[in-house]
Subunit: 345 residues, 2 copies
DNA sequence: TTGAAAGCGATACCAC
DNA sequence: GTGGTATCGCTTTCAA
């Protein structure tokens, strides 16, 4: 009785309604159906009404995959992001997705646990025919070359490249660190500890170098550096390392991100019984949510994440439309937040 | 001199290498090229070597879009997630992406700011021909019907539906809350405040109801409820509301998530000068990172997020392979964490 | 404005 | 094992 032939097809036996089905049902040509779903097409009012009714009745949705194949545009953009970045700045992903979807572009997500996985990943990105790519991860010069060779528009998020013409949006890490150092030195701090981020993080290195440079310029001699990995635990451990290295607790600790600053404060207060900011000043960088919690009230430089993602999205979409645009770097100043975690005068 | 014809095509003028190019360059048929890139295909060693060499030389990558069109499988899964969920549990997204990509499936991201946006969004999901969908957002019965009608496999993440056969993975909220209440009542607390999540959150409602039910069973009469929205600020505000409503500070406050519990603790300590846990016990739910920070050391129920995402991924992939599998609910117990934010004996 | 027909770049099936 | 050919569902000329 029942026709089972459809089930014999080896691929998805879920029934798909195509533009042909709609055309037949509406008694028009398939091209007409296609036109009705294309924004600026020339279709008569009557035709559109008829087609839309038929589409409604059959539950038709145009197949984006087929559209991509012929039009050469997938309306998808790749977002390549490392695990750490997602964990510390979850809002980036949400905002990117939100803003791009407003422009009719979807986010295809590529996360990397270890930055080494990136070569396979780039192959994947290219296979999926994304129209563009936003990269919040470290790429080697060769990898960047490879992307450019394929002609895929891309924008770096929060990494800059001094010697390369490239699209990037970032926060001025150096400027921010210099401000923090200025304030701390002005307030009389003389013995400094720095808790850096992981060595392979360009952002962390810029922050650390920015602070070191300014300290040197101001003639501050007593400076020790401990390496962290952006985590709470490494902030706590960093303080102990610094104390061991310097013989005693420094006057101020500059952390490469807020979560480490928080770890550092907690270690000072709860492990060492040291009062922050009375006996020790701690500053961070980035301005994540918990920085504002009243237990910490961090002095930090808040990155304008919203504006940065907005910029990244508009840059990538512009370049999808017009691949020949000149490379552009957009560098935002951070917002200086004078919290209660540091004595500033 | 130069041939500009390629540039006249209205779509991406970026040159694409196709399997035909590779075939010509290797002197074999196009089908042969295709087979070489298909895992279990029967190709001679010699042929494979030749094709791979040609592909390498031309920089060929198979076009996933074209593959999807004919094979009926896009190797993409939609992840529908609300803004709040991403912010509080960023690891969900990373883990989903990681685990799915290990299985050759990419995540197409759909975020919603307001849950009302969801109808347009479902249309979008369907257009992109994803193979399956993981939903960490609230859907109405009608919306679920619509998905089922389309035959798209889907799994709910951390929402359950008592009266519906549906795929879902979640954490047993009720069980967890009952445990918290048991411990608090056993320790002698008698006056309870509850800070709930937003009214439209099913998860929050389950937690709040679970606590209320157990309190009733144990004969606890003095209970007040304040509504929060999962944010730090609303946790702080909730405590003030409870105090106003009850005439004084309760013995214990049960918060529908950890961030509100943290807000509540900070408000108690820094705004009201109340000691936690000596004068007030506070418990949360979910076990986010900051719950372990030594300033808070929350008593909470940690959701096994890793196991839950693992389960969600395997459930969805199984159902992509075999759409006729029976609906299944996988309910994980939370991990009871006895932190220092509550007096438990 | 509408319809017919030619692709987009793969896979699947069929002979050989 | 290999090569030809139909096909996936749409957009896009091109005539009518």
């Amino acid at each position: 009785m029942t026709d089972n032939s459809a089930n014999n097809r080896n691929h998805a036996n879920r029934q798909r309604v195509t533009s042909y089905d709609v055309a037949r049902h509406a008694g028009v040509s398939q091209s007409a159906v296609s036109r009705c779903f294309k924004p600026g097409a020339s279709v008569s009012k009557k035709m559109r009404a008829r087609v839309m009714k038929a589409a409604e009745e059959l539950g038709y949705q145009p197949n984006a995959i087929a559209r991509s194949l012929i039009s050469g545009r997938s309306n998808m953009a790749a977002v390549v992001i490392s695990q750490k970045t997602t964990l510390y700045y979850p809002e980036i992903l949400v905002e990117l997705s939100q803003r791009m979807s407003e422009q009719g572009v979807r986010v295809l997500l590529f996360t990397l646990e270890h930055e080494s996985d990136i070569d396979d990943l780039l192959d994947q990105v290219l296979q999926y025919q994304v129209d563009g790519m936003i990269v919040a991860a470290r790429l080697s010069a060769q990898q960047i070359d490879a992307i450019e060779r394929r002609g895929l528009p891309f924008v770096f998020y929060n990494r800059s490249f001094r010697d390369r013409q490239i699209n990037a949006v970032c926060c001025d890490q150096t400027e921010g660190e210099r401000w923090l150092v200025n304030r701390l030195v002005n307030a009389g701090h003389r013995r400094f500890g720095i808790i850096s981020g992981p060595e392979d993080s360009a952002v962390s290195m810029e922050r650390t170098q920015g602070a070191l440079e300014r300290l040197r310029e101001l003639g501050v001699k007593q400076v020790a550096v401990a390496e962290g990995d952006y985590s709470y635990e490494s902030g706590a451990a960093g303080l102990l390392t610094l104390r061991a290295e310097m013989g005693r607790i420094p006057d101020a600790v500059i952390c490469a991100n807020d979560v480490m600053a928080i770890g550092c404060i907690d270690a000072a207060r709860h492990q060492l019984g040291i009062s922050v900011p009375a006996e020790l000043s701690v500053v961070g960088f980035d301005g994540v949510g918990p920085a504002r919690w009243s237990s910490y009230d961090l002095t930090t430089v808040r990155q304008p994440v919203g504006r940065m993602t907005e910029a990244a999205v508009s840059m990538i979409l512009e370049r999808v439309e017009n691949p020949d645009l000149q490379p552009e770097k957009r560098i935002f100043s951070g917002l200086m937040v004078e919290g209660g975690s540091a004595r500033l005068d």
